[in-house]
Structure formats: C-alpha cells, structure tokens
Symmetry: C2
C-alpha cells in the first residue's frame, strides 16, 4: 500500500506553479501505540495555503504540504479513535496521515455531509460566523463582503442577511454576482472585474458602509475605505490579494479610518475554538433548514491534482468552497 | 486699523511653498449685533493645516487660512462675550477675526498660561488624552508613540508613563530622543532618522508593542506593525507623513493586524468635546504640579511668518508645540 504525497519543492514566487511541488510516495504509515492513521478523503483548497508555502510559513522545502482534511481512521493504536470513525485535522496533501490525535476532531456524518466540515461547518463557515461578531453590525447597518462568492464570503453575506442587515457582495464576474443576488439573497452585488467598485458603492450605499468583512485586500479594500460610514468597522479575515505578492502592498486610503473614526480589526478563527460548538450548531441548523446555502466545488483527481487546483482560488475560477476529493 | 491676513493662493503640492500663500489686508471688522471681534494673539501651527489647504479640504483658494487661535475680545456686540476676555476658536491666520460666537471657548488665564490652550490643554493635549483612551493600555503594556517630540506625541508618552506603562518614543534626531528620555521620562527613544526602527524595537520591545499611538504613518507605521504583540491596538490620531503626499501610501504590513489579531482605530478629538472639561482639569493639574512638561516653541513675527513656519512641522525642525505669536 502506497501513500502518495505532495511536497513543497520550491518557494513559490507569485501564483504557485506546478514545478513548485513534487509528487512523492512512501509506504502507508503504521500507527505506533497512541497514534492513529487516517485515510484522507476530502482536502480543503484554501488561499491561505499560499502563505503556508512562503518563506516565513510553516511548510519547509521537502515537507508534505499542509492541508485541512476530512478522512476516516484506517488504523488505530490510539484509545480515543476507532477504525472507521470520521475525523477532521491538518492531515496534509497526501493519501494517508499518521497522527497522535492532537488537533483531531471527530465528525458526525449524520449532522451534515462530510464535506460540509471543510465548508460551512469548517474554517470558512466559522470564519464567516466569528467575523460578523468582530464587525458588530447594528440594526439598519449596511454590510459589505469581499470575495463574496468564495467559501468565507458566501457564508458571511448569508449570515448577515439572515440577521437582518443590508448586504452587498463584491465578487469577480457576472455569473457569481447573479448567484449572490438570485440564489443567496444578497441585496446587491458588485462585479469588481467589470464595474467601478467606488462608483457602485456610491449608488448602493449612499450613507456609507458600516461593516466591511474583507478577505481580499488590495484595490477592493482601498475602494471600500473611501466609502466608510462614520464609526465603520473593517474586519480583516484574510488578504487573498496579498498572499502571492512578493512585496506586500497596504491600503493607501487607510487614513479614512481617521476621518471616519473607523476601525480595522484582524482576527484568526482558531482563537474562537471554545465557541466552535455554538457556531457549528447554528450553522448546521441553518444548512439543514435550507436557509444557508453552501456551494462546494468538488474536484476529483487525487493528490496529483493539487498543483493545478491551488491557482484556481486566486484566479477566481472557482465558486464556493474548492474541495479536492481523493 | 488694518487686519493683515494670510490667504490660500494656490493648492500646495508637497510641502507648502511661500508662493502658495498671499498676504492681504483689509480694515479691522466691526461686530454686528450678536457678534464679537477677536484680536488674535497666538496661532497654533499644526500638520493638519496641510490637509485643510488640500483640494478636498475646507479652505478654498482666496480664503483666509484656517487656524486654531487664542485671542482677546477687542469689540463685542455679543451678550456672552465682553471686551478683554480671553477666547479660543478657529479664528484663522489673521490679526483680527469676526465671529458669532459659535465654537468660541472662554479661557481662564489663571488656570494655565494662554499658550497652553493651544498645547497641553488644547487639541494636541486633548488628542493625546483621548488617544490613550482609544488604545486602552493594560497593566504591563508597552506603549509606543510616534512623532514623540511633537505637540501630541510628547503629551501621549508622558500620560502613558504617568499611568504606569512602559513607553518608547520614536522621533527624529538625537537631541529630541535625549529630551524624551532625560526630561520627559520616556523609557527609551528611537531616532528614526539614524536608527533602524525595527531593529531597535526588537531590542526594546522583545515581547511586542501592545499600544501604538501613531500620528505619522508611512515607514514608521510599517516598522511598528511588524512588531505588534498579539491583540495590539494601533491608534491613528494623525498621518503627518501623508498630508503632503500627492498620492497617499498605506501600511504595506497591514496584514499584521490579521496575524496578530490586532486593531487599527482612527479617532478625531472633537468627537470627545463633552469630555474636554474632565481632560483639561487633569491635564491642567499635571501641568501645575510639574508632572507634565509641555514644550512650546514660540515664534514671533506676526502672520507674515506663517508661510515659512508651516513647513517646520514636517521637516522636524520644531520640538514640542509650534506657536506663532502675533
């Protein structure tokens, strides 16, 4: 039995190229006492992976690439995990992973489909949930979401809508924008590839943007900064436009925070781990009721497909949560 | 009797030049019923004036330049103001100003010297006071202040020190840095003109910066962002480095807000007007006790001196609060 793996072969410059990765194989690991082995089933393809592969990231040259994964225990010497149980963890871009159980969560396949644990019930959904917390929208507020057709943004916008706020999504392409308005119930959507974001915000949010949940940065962030309402909250849950940049660039219009008495706050979802059960319960109930739509774009192809897949999250070629099925 | 005035002649590009201003004269105004006339005595020279003169600022071409001024009522048709009373207001760069009393504050010359109402008891001192409020330093925190030898920064740092925090100032030049440490009691100072700000922060704040009160922006802001402690608060009270820029530039390292779960919050002092009495009482008591040092650099020369004086607040040629005496 062979374990195929994708390892980091070279530090990417800009969008990662296929030559930045190496396909390797080794025997499927055996669990030592206290360990388990997981057969990976679904891998989450996330923009943040680009940062993990950067020189200051956690993945070294020659290491198996990190990934959030849903799998099934295939062998166990760990008293807490039985063969056949479904688990979630940072099992990496490979077919099998050995683990001592640290950071491994058991999943209930009856609560939601397994892939939901990488999407609406996973880091994207949890990031959307706690990002709204950080933004503290108040009654009557206008909430703007960037990367709105993505794994985080599509949930952020729907949650904001379910809580009664006016929601404007920013996404790339007419089709995505139509999806946001027609299927997800956003009040409006701006196609940043074809439209002038600032001009559209003038029309759509004449009183200004109260909460901006930003997963993108760059020109979109700068445009929204010029349209903040007084006391606005900008929530930074990511910076997709920056992950591939050799030289980072900041929001030129940051002094709008001063003129508008506004704030910009970053947060990382794992800090809210003690509230995951609360968030997952709400998200799972909304999913079950059909009040929350989670679009997953599932690609078959095994770990070999990873090098071609990762660039899709930057080009905007994917809609919803991109998942690699093994 | 003639009223000499400085009017905006051209929109400045970069640091304002003498040719951006025109010296004009007109008769000293007479107060109509309900109005007062003020003989201006001291003018505050502030970095923010550069923004007032910009195309999107409040001063039009041909207008008398705006300024915060301490003066004395020279004629009055207003029931609330008597000739001889000392007042503070936005009376402009001119020798006499007519006012209907809106936004005019009476001053008590017994509480503090008149010029203190432009410095420690004026907008700079109040900005320092409320900026610390926004930054919410906690016990054991390290507070960093930029523009630390300026009107706002020198008070910010001293207040933070008086409240028991560790304080590092960033200023331009050895002499200013010595003043911060030897006379104002800062724990340390970094000379951004001669030293590597990041390297010095590594040494001086190895556990990171908890609160950064920033009045400057630009390279200094970027350097401090790379040294934020987890959960840090960046308070934006100004952006001196940006006011002369034809194209604004933002903090390239803004994603540190994400990695460090930090926030950046802008505020404008006039929003705290209802708390001015509380703040002035504390600041005045500290000044009287000698626990707060307010350095004022007073320049004689009348309104004619204004065009040469304003660039000094950007070049770093002044220390403490720059005041023009008429």
């Amino acid at each position: 039995m062979t374990n195929h793996q994708i390892r980091l072969a070279a530090r990417p410059s800009g969008i990662p190229k296929p030559s930045d990765w190496a396909l390797t194989e080794e025997p499927v690991p055996e669990p030592a006492p206290g360990e388990l082995v997981v057969a990976n089933e679904y891998l989450s393809i996330d923009p943040i992976m680009r940062r993990w592969a950067a020189a200051d990231g956690p993945v070294g040259i020659g290491d198996v690439m990190e990934a959030s994964v849903v799998g099934r225990v295939s062998a166990s010497g760990h008293p807490g995990f039985a063969v056949g149980e479904h688990v979630y963890g940072g099992f990496g871009v490979q077919e099998f992973a050995r683990s001592d159980g640290t950071g491994v969560t058991k999943l209930d396949p009856l609560l939601a489909p397994l892939t939901a644990y990488l999407a609406a019930l996973g880091i994207p959904g949890l990031t959307a949930y706690f990002g709204l917390d950080v933004g503290r929208p108040q009654e009557g507020d206008t909430v703007v979401v960037s990367g709105a057709a993505g794994g985080v943004g599509s949930i952020s916008g729907q949650l904001a809508k379910l809580r009664g706020f006016r929601v404007i999504g920013i996404a790339g392409g007419q089709e995505k924008c139509r999806w946001l308005v027609d299927e997800l119930g956003f009040d409006a959507a701006i196609d940043y590839k074809a439209e002038d974001v600032g001009g559209r915000l003038d029309e759509l949010a004449p009183a200004g943007v109260d909460v901006f949940v930003d997963n993108v940065g760059g020109a979109v962030l700068d445009a929204v900064l010029l349209h903040l309402a007084r006391g606005a909250r900008v929530v930074i849950s990511g910076g997709l436009s920056q992950y591939n940049a050799d030289r980072p660039s900041g929001p030129s219009n940051y002094l709008q925070l001063l003129w508008q008495r506004a704030s910009m706050t970053g947060f990382l979802t794992p800090d809210y781990e003690d509230r995951y059960p609360e968030a997952r319960a709400e998200l799972a109930a909304l999913l079950r009721d059909g009040r929350l739509i989670s679009r997953e774009q599932r690609v078959e192809g095994g770990v070999r497909a990873f090098p071609e897949l990762l660039p899709m999250v930057f080009s905007g070629a994917s809609t919803g949560k991109l998942i690699l099925a093994l």
